[in-house]
């Protein structure tokens, strides 16, 4: 007994099985966490090595190069980049996506061990550092304050940071922009020298006075007592009274030579939110924990925390990465609902029967819900990919059920009893259903095997759709016939009202059938004309892409509701001045753009303790970084891209800003944002590459649509250097080490000891007073003591000169490189690349220098070549599936003719909607291959059936086509209308899926219309020649027989 027969015979068993699946699916659904993207393992590993005292080029030759040559043998390596700075070498290894990072890390560690012995003696141990998406902050909270500002760090640390860190899943909570308390001992060098004291001795005195010492224990009577000296300062003022020496018989106290300040540390990053100073608190999650959940808990906790804070401290969330996730997921969920509704309307429109509609619609929830079981088992999440897979699949899952039900209905109308009709009707179309489902699987399953970024994104899509489609096929072969046998009636009575509404529709559909039959009848008798027209149409439709009306890009730019960027003042600008400029911009933007919800900016140097700040953002006294949050998408008219452009314009009007880079996107999401084009300039000689880069920097901004042009090699920064004369040093019994130590202690200061209060420790820093470290003369006047106690001034030992430091040396794949990068705004990637290439051709490039275009363009090329190959494989697979199902090569070939028209439709749709050809479009084209051949399979299979039943070719084609018109139109319309909500969606994240939906809609519409005519024509053409060949063969055989006799 076949599958459908037993399910028709055993309705209870069939329904119970499906109910069980639905229940399991619903349980899984409630257990699924929400996330933006499927889990993406990062693909970058950094190796950091310190080499104290070495210049950039020393670091390059002694550390970076040996490490690079060893590390470049690590398998699966895509790119190896390095920067060699003073004291430090950072090597970044880029791998393909989707590899096991732990294995790679071990591999790297082994390679490092090999090369360790060749490293210079002073070089530190290389540190391996994994970059992962988990480091993207979950939430950024700003804390603004007035009176509490001096104590802000401590308050935030104890009252905000600690409770937040206790939340399950929170990895680290770091505070930036709140300066920490520091006890400063500022020395007056003149007085100090008069008393023959040194900074070192003063620091030593503090160290010696600020001590708690245990002195053992003693027995008194029958008890044992511990003996301790409690010498630590209880108040910073005590430092004033420390006796630091004797001079002319008088005791000298600290207060005689120094001023004690209980203040905030000197150089710190300041953070402003909406113009108010405060701090930002950055929460990062533990690897593997769920962003939305953590953010939700933090949001729940914040009001509680706010209550416990002083009234002038206000906490507000700057950037909640879960916000974007929740909004995106919600807008996608909405499209799923709309798709469901549209599909329902289409089915009802064509069938005109409530019961039939219900039977078909039932397959949608069952197959979609079964996908949740898969997600739950594999530990997946509800994310953009999984939800849009649902949205994509809705239009496809009803197809099988429609074909089955349609055929069963025909059987019933011809007089079969529902049960027999169900079995026979299913049997007739079973083969074509399996074939068409297999073609869809042939399209989506290979998606799970793609490598790289596209692979990470689409493997879930592939699995989801494969599973959904498989379940829908099983549904169509079991549940649909079973329900049809139970629910369908031979001649259902229709109410008058229903007839009134549906009557005209039915008439229309009947007429459509007739018209179509006439058309096919005409077409199969005018084959040449039809084929010429089709070919002409196909060629004409390619014009937009040949002429360049349809541009290309990598991923579509996504309105993230954030604008971020940095401005750079001339090097050496004091922080106060940078701050003023930032404040001015802040006020200006606040007034000018009502779309701005919040502006946060940071200025100044981040302290070394702030890992996030120092690693991931540029910071210096002359740099200000902005992050601007816009109000939600539906409350504003201008897109974040338009705003970014006008903000860029505002900045360009300020002459004091030397460099700026403003980008759409908060840097907190992985994708979206605008595309960049990098021109990589390779070459060893600094001067030559600098010249080329400078030339590019001059030319690229003139190209329309390219903004934010920056050069990666930093400027030669001015600095003071002390050139000691070694002979003079030796004469005085000194060496460079001692002398430079003296300098550092006076200017940078030494941390003499720690002041402890309430369980917190604060540094006590001894240094020259601010006013004695502001000029070259101040440095020259520093006294250096030798071991005999003789004092020599710096100016007697050497010269203080102003120089430019050599820049950071960047290398990519073991070659020195400068990257000139620019953001694409207002044009497409291919156009921009073409114009850059034109400029490059005009630049006189020395023979030692090579240039290459990278950035989004390279990513695009990589993903396009990946996807192109995939498209080829999929077309082949689809062909194989069809060939084995039809047991013929001719029929699949005929059906494949619908693919080019699909492509025509794609090009036209992209052109009409002004979209670009990008990765998402490409995926749309790939999916299209599976969807468009479905129509062909349904038609050809039925035409074949008619011929097997003894009809002539033309009659088989015309009647077959006529009877398959409705299923074909229905399946196409459900797929098209199922995608429509995605294509029309304006919600968060819609930019990503829109092009794909537009592609499928356009391709499917055009291909369906043409397939309906071209496939019958092709069929007659091939079948007729097949029949003729057979005749000829028969004739020949007969002739031979005759001759033989």
């Amino acid at each position: 007994m076949s599958l459908y027969e037993s399910s028709v015979r055993k309705p209870v068993m069939t329904s119970i099985i499906f109910i069980a699946v639905v229940i399991l699916g619903l349980i899984s659904y409630y257990k699924l966490p929400i996330d933006l993207m499927p889990k993406i393992e990062s693909s970058t590993i950094m190796v950091m090595t310190t080499y104290e005292g070495a210049s950039a080029s020393d670091v390059e030759t002694n550390v970076t190069r040996p490490l690079e040559s060893s590390l470049s043998t690590v398998s699966n390596l895509k790119n190896i980049n390095s920067t060699s700075k003073e004291n430090r070498s950072i090597i970044t290894l880029e791998f393909d996506y989707g590899l096991d990072l732990n294995v790679l890390t071990n591999d790297i560690r082994n390679k490092l061990d090999l090369v360790k012995s060749y490293m210079p003696a002073g070089a530190g141990n290389p540190i391996i550092f994994k970059l992962s998406t988990d480091m993207i902050p979950v939430i950024m909270i700003s804390a603004t304050a007035n009176q509490s500002l001096p104590a802000l760090y401590k308050i935030l640390d104890t009252k905000v940071s600690n409770p937040l860190a206790r939340i399950n899943g929170v990895g680290s909570v770091s505070i930036s922009g709140a300066p920490q308390r520091e006890i400063q001992v500022y020395i007056d060098p003149v007085k100090m020298e008069a008393f023959h004291l040194t900074i070192e001795s003063l620091a030593q005195s503090i160290r010696m006075e600020n001590l708690n010492t245990p002195a053992g224990s003693m027995d008194v009577g029958s008890d044992t007592y511990a003996l301790r000296v409690q010498g630590e300062f209880k108040d910073p003022k005590e430092i004033n009274n420390i006796i630091v020496g004797n001079y002319a018989g008088k005791t000298i106290r600290m207060s005689d030579v120094a001023v004690i300040n209980d203040k905030l540390e000197e150089r710190a990053q300041e953070s402003y939110t909406n113009g108010l100073q405060g701090a930002s608190i950055i929460v990062q999650k533990q690897p593997g924990s769920n962003t939305v959940q953590i953010a939700r808990e933090i949001q729940k906790m914040l009001p509680e925390i706010q209550k416990g804070l002083p009234s002038d401290i206000k906490l507000s969330v700057i950037n909640d990465s879960s916000d974007n996730i929740v909004r995106t997921i919600n807008s996608l969920a909405e499209t799923v609902i709309y798709a469901l509704l549209f599909v329902m309307i289409v089915v009802l429109f064509f069938l005109g029967r409530w019961r039939a509609t219900v039977i078909i619609i039932l397959t949608i929830p069952i197959s979609l819900i079964s996908a949740f079981i898969y997600l739950n088992i594999t530990g997946g999440t509800l994310n953009i990919i999984s939800l849009s897979s649902l949205s994509l699949a809705i239009g496809l899952v009803v197809d099988d059920a429609i074909v089955v039900l349609e055929n069963i209905t025909t059987h019933i109308e011809r007089g079969s009893r529902p049960k027999t009709a169900a079995v026979n009707g299913t049997n007739e179309v079973g083969l074509s259903i399996i074939a068409s489902t297999l073609t869809i699987i042939a399209v989506f399953l290979p998606l799970t095997m793609v490598s790289g970024m596209a692979g990470v994104m689409f493997s879930q899509l592939g699995w989801m759709v494969t599973i959904i489609i498989t379940v829908s096929m099983i549904c169509a072969l079991t549940l649909t016939p079973m329900l049809a046998s139970q629910l369908l009636r031979l001649d259902p009575k229709r109410s008058k009202g229903f007839n009134k509404v549906y009557g005209p529709i039915e008439n229309f559909l009947d007429k459509l059938d007739e018209k179509y039959a006439t058309l096919v009848n005409w077409a199969v008798r005018h084959k040449i004309r039809i084929l010429l027209f089709a070919t002409a149409f196909f060629i004409a439709s390619l014009i937009p892409i040949i002429v360049g009306w349809v541009g290309t890009e990598n991923f579509p730019a996504q309105d993230s509701g954030f604008v971020s960027g940095s401005i750079e003042m001339p090097i050496g600008t004091r922080m106060e001045i940078t701050r003023d400029v930032c404040q001015r911009l802040n006020d200006q933007w606040k007034k000018k753009y009502p779309e701005i919800d919040m502006i946060n900016y940071n200025v100044g140097q981040a302290s070394s303790k702030n890992i996030f700040g120092s690693l991931f953002s540029k910071n210096s006294s002359n740099i200000g970084t902005f992050s601007i949050r816009l109000v939600s998408l539906n409350k504003r008219k201008r897109s974040s891209f338009a705003l970014t452009d006008s903000i860029r314009h505002d900045i360009s009007l300020l002459p004091e800003i030397r460099k700026s880079a403003i980008k759409e996107g908060g840097g907190m999401s992985m994708m979206g944002g605008q595309s960049t084009i990098d021109v990589e300039v390779y070459g060893y000689d600094f001067a030559q590459t600098d010249k080329v880069a400078a030339e590019l920097l001059k030319r690229i901004p003139n190209i329309k649509g390219l903004v934010n042009t920056t050069v990666s090699r930093e400027d030669y920064t001015p600095e003071y250097q002390v050139d000691f004369d070694r002979e003079k040093l030796a004469l005085n019994g000194l060496n460079v080490a001692t002398a430079s130590n003296y300098l550092s202690n006076r200017i940078n200061g030494i941390t003499a000891s720690l002041f402890r209060e309430d369980g917190e420790e604060y540094s006590i820093v001894v240094a020259y007073d601010l006013k004695y470290r502001q000029s070259i003369q101040d440095v020259e006047n520093i006294l250096i003591y030798n071991s005999q106690g003789q004092a020599v001034r710096v100016k007697d030992l050497g010269k203080v000169v102003e120089r430019f430091t050599p820049p950071t040396i960047e290398r990519k794949n073991r070659q020195r490189i400068i990257t000139v990068s620019s953001t694409v705004s207002g044009t497409t990637l291919d156009v921009a690349v073409a114009s850059i290439n034109k400029e490059l051709a005009q630049i006189d490039i020395p023979s030692d220098v090579t240039t290459k275009i990278a950035g989004s363009f390279k990513d695009q090329q990589e993903s396009f070549s990946d996807l192109g190959m995939l498209l080829g494989i999929i077309i082949l697979l689809v062909f194989v599936v069809m060939a084995s199902q039809f047991e013929s090569i001719t029929y699949p070939f005929i059906i494949m003719f619908s693919v080019p028209f699909g492509i025509s439709g794609v090009v036209l749709a992209l052109w009409l909607t002004g979209s670009t050809f990008n990765v998402m479009t490409f995926v749309g084209v790939i999916m299209l291959v599976g969807i468009v051949v479905k129509n062909g399979i349904v038609m050809v299979d039925y035409i074949n059936l008619n011929r097997e039943r003894g009809n002539g070719i033309i009659r088989a084609v015309v009647t077959g086509g006529k009877s398959r018109l409705r299923p074909v139109l229905m399946t196409s319309l459900t797929a098209i209308l199922g995608m429509l909500p995605l294509a029309m969606s304006h919600g968060q994240g819609a930019e990503m899926w829109k092009p794909m939906a537009v592609t499928v809609i356009g391709g499917l519409t055009v291909s369906t219309m043409l397939t309906l005519v071209v496939v019958p024509v092709m069929y007659t053409l091939f079948a007729a020649s097949g029949v003729k060949r057979k005749h000829r063969k028969n004739k020949k055989a007969a002739l031979q027989k005759e001759l033989g006799e």
Partner: protein, 97 residues
């Protein structure tokens, strides 16, 4: 005694059984899946992809007087749907045990 050979579309199985029962016919032999094609009209019943439907065949030995009503009722059933088809043939039985 006469034998009636009835060949019919599988979908008619229940109805044919009812007719036999109503006519107090208890005994019969049958073949559940039988292929066949009508001499003049009707769809072939081949159980193939092109002609998926199949017949069931029943042979029953009844008293002479039962033959007429059974055939009449079968003809009536056949009239409900042209495409499914029922055919019945009668011949004599000489002996049995």
């Amino acid at each position: 005694m006469k034998s009636i050979f009835i060949s019919f579309d599988q979908a008619y199985y229940d109805q044919v059984q009812t007719i036999l029962t109503l006519n107090h016919v208890r005994g019969f032999s049958g073949w559940e899946s039988v292929i066949g094609r009508g001499s003049k009209t009707g769809e072939p019943h081949f159980g193939t992809h092109a002609w998926p439907s199949l017949n069931t065949a029943i042979i029953t030995i009844v008293d002479d007087e039962k033959v007429k009503p059974i055939l009449e009722q079968l003809r009536e059933l056949d009239g409900t749907s042209e495409r499914m088809g029922i055919r019945a043939f009668v011949w004599n039985i000489e002996d049995g045990m």
